[in-house]
């Protein structure tokens, strides 16, 4: 049989499944799953709608080592219902975060989500609140909670709010972070406000480069597991417990951001205000050139988040 020229699964974070991402991100064979698919802990709601369930409910949680440092880790599967939060999905993440707080373990979250699963919206919304509380408690206890964003579904809805509570965010160009998604904004505010079909515009307002430039993410990496792994290892080496002064700094940072860019209609307006030399060409620039441009121009979250 002919050997087929498959790419290495770790060549694209965007393309990979949740399990492929974990395999490529973590130390070799260090991952031990909690409540794995063999337990068949599936959604109690989807069956009512005659919808297919998945044995892990679209999220993989467990413990592992990263550069030999023990961590807790969770990865959402964007291919199953857009990585949306349901009751079981949410409970698995809540449990992991609570355990992290108790055991003083740092947590790495691989986001890939459109937000709450509509078919189990109440359970999903409750889960979002529980997750936020568990993150805050873990961070007060001194744990780092690091979010990785570069999957197909982006990081939307409640996922966007949870990302906002993390101590550190790493994003790739493909990654998108927002609360309301493009279609939702267009439906509610009209196409003049937001043309969801203009994908370049979507990326100029929610995409990885833009979020990095306005301090919405702390690291910008190439779309591969090596990039995410190196940045996560570096982030784990830093330690910043959540304190009142950190929260106050974050509040101040966000107020300043609104002040400075609140009137901007497009990412390009923001980048121009930041003093980027070629704002129109920015989306097309390669990672190295982009990082160089961004270096002394971008807003960052130093001392905040």
């Amino acid at each position: 049989m002919t050997a087929l020229p498959h790419h290495n699964a770790s060549t694209s974070w965007f393309e990979a499944t949740a399990r492929q991402r974990l395999a490529a991100l973590l130390d070799h064979k260090s991952f031990a799953e909690f409540l794995g698919p063999e337990q068949r802990e599936t959604s109690p709601h989807l069956g009512l709608f005659d919808l297919p369930r998945q044995f892990d409910d679209g999220i993989v949680v467990g413990r592992a080592r990263l550069d030999n440092r023990p961590i807790f880790v969770a990865a959402q599967e964007g291919r199953f219902m857009g990585g949306a939060f349901g009751e079981v999905h949410g409970a698995k993440l809540t449990g992991l975060l609570r355990a992290a707080g108790i055991h003083r373990q740092d947590v790495v979250l691989l986001f890939d989500t459109g937000g709450v699963r509509l078919q189990e919206a109440n359970a999903g919304e409750l889960a979002i609140s529980e997750i936020i509380r568990a993150i805050v408690e873990a961070r007060i206890a001194g744990c780092s909670v690091i979010g990785l964003i570069g999957g197909r579904a982006g990081c939307y809805g409640g996922g966007g709010i949870i990302a906002g509570c993390c101590s550190h965010l790493i994003v790739s160009e493909q990654g998108r972070i927002s609360v309301s998604g493009p279609e939702v904004i267009e439906t509610n505010r009209g196409v003049e406000e937001f043309d969801s079909r203009d994908r370049a515009f979507v990326w100029r307002t929610m995409g990885g480069k833009h979020r990095y430039l306005i301090g919405g993410a702390d690291d910008f990496v190439n779309d591969n597991a090596d990039g995410f792994r190196a940045a996560t290892i570096a982030a784990l080496a830093k330690r910043q417990p959540l304190t009142t002064s950190v929260l106050e700094a974050e509040q101040k940072r966000l107020a300043n951001r609104l002040d400075r860019f609140g009137q901007a209609q497009d990412g390009i307006d923001v980048w121009t205000a930041l003093g980027i030399t070629d704002p129109v060409g920015l989306p097309g620039s390669a990672t190295e050139a982009f990082l160089e441009q961004a270096l002394d121009k971008r807003e960052n979250a130093n001392g905040a988040r």
Binding site: A9, E173, G284
Partner: protein, 555 residues
Amino acid sequence: MHTKRMAMTKWNEQRAARADRISAGQAYADGKMVPAGRLTEFFETVIRSGDRVCIEGDNQKQADLLAKALANVAPERIHDLHMVQSGVVLPEHLDLFDKGIARRLDFSYSGPQSARIARMLFGGQIELGAVHTYLELFARYFIDLTPNVALIAAVSADREGNLYTGPNTEDTPTVVEATSFKDGLVIAQVGEIVDRVPRVDIPGDLVHFVVDAKAPFYVEPLFTRDPAAVTETQILTAMLAIKGLYAPYGVKRLNHGIGFSTAAIELLLPTYGEALGLRGKICSHFALNPHPTLIPAIEAGWVEQIHCFGSEVGMEDYVAARSDVFFTGPDGSLRSNRAFCQTAGLYACDMFIGSTLQIDLAGHSSTVTTSRIAGFGGAPNMGSDPHGRRHPSAPWLQAGAEADSTSPAPLRRGRKLVVQIGETFGDKNVPLFVEQLDALALAQKLGLDLAPVMVYGDDVTHIVTEEGIANLLLCRTVDEREQAIRGVAGYTDIGRQRDRKMVERLRERRIIQRPEDLGINPLDADRSLLAARSIKDLMLASGGLYKPPSRFRNW
């Protein structure tokens, strides 16, 4: 009419009538130039009630400014127009009928207006002549549907009216030929007036008036398929097609449909096709638009030559830089021509492969649903066996021999390979295979003589789904044919009602081939096999020459 003519011995009335129109139009024109602001009054002067009018437009480019202006004429001055045009695509094309400006319609394609056109046909606002294929409508332009007025679109014009159409020449030469040489009036919208056009696509003496729209005409990027949306099932069907059809028949000259399944084939050529050692043996000559998904195969040296129906938004620079592959003009840019490319697809290609929405048990297929009339476009020309073909080729002879094992070879027709490819359950889990086409219900509802069938069952040679390939050429009875179709229809109702024993016998005769019969492991059908997995990959593969439209960029 004939006797009247004899009595009056007038033989040049049409020419005189055109001269009258041109001189009446001078009230608004400076030479040939008509200001855009006065277009509606100008139309009310040069167009007559009852005229046959072609507004140029197809599934790609549109004479949008002229369409809008025509929809604004006063119905009491201009009415009962007979629209004879490839595409009913812009809202204004149908506003003409709502407002009582036009009454009768002969067309070919209606993509985005398919639901509204169905409602208007049902409501009686449109008197339908027929739904045609492109080539068929073009043919009738020269016999019994010759336009009195053609409203066309070009990139630029000079003061004499010489037109430059750029890469999107498409239907323009055909429409102008039929109209202008039969004493009809040709009015062009252009993006700009220049001293000298980069190349003359339409000679100025065939063009009577020119309007400076000061903006490019609208073009729909209809042939861009984002590799990010290609599914693993589509990859499996593409592997089956390459290994089970392209390779054994040695298909070099072909046309691909517009769907994701054929996009997957294009993206598998440099990877899977290369691993099978097929480069140079298949897919070297295409009648095809410049599909962005073909870039990796072109770059890997698979493709010798492509002739195009039209262009594709963003592909202009890439095509210009690959003139060994594409047809280009002295200005360097693509020259497309829909009529010639349709003819090439019909007579000079050995295979058509494309997707459809519904296939019945006789193999008839249709993209019509009960509430939509999308028209035919060019697919029936590509997806039919041309009985006028006389030149042999290996795939054509092989298919002919499979269909007819008894006739002596020198008297046996070859067959064009007409392949339908798709997933057993399509978009929103709608089954591809049906007991009865929705097209039949629609024809009944509208009282049409013909159901709008895209590809007739007797033209289809193979059906490819994720369950396998059905070779209909080898079927000898209606029953075998039905079971061959059921045998690849998967878990649809049609598939589950198969006669299992007969399907197994068909498999022994290789009328049905499963992935394992072809040495294909479905688990190998993985997105990592695609030569490009995103629009950005395509742009990078083109060396930055492909400039994707904003709506396809995720960066």
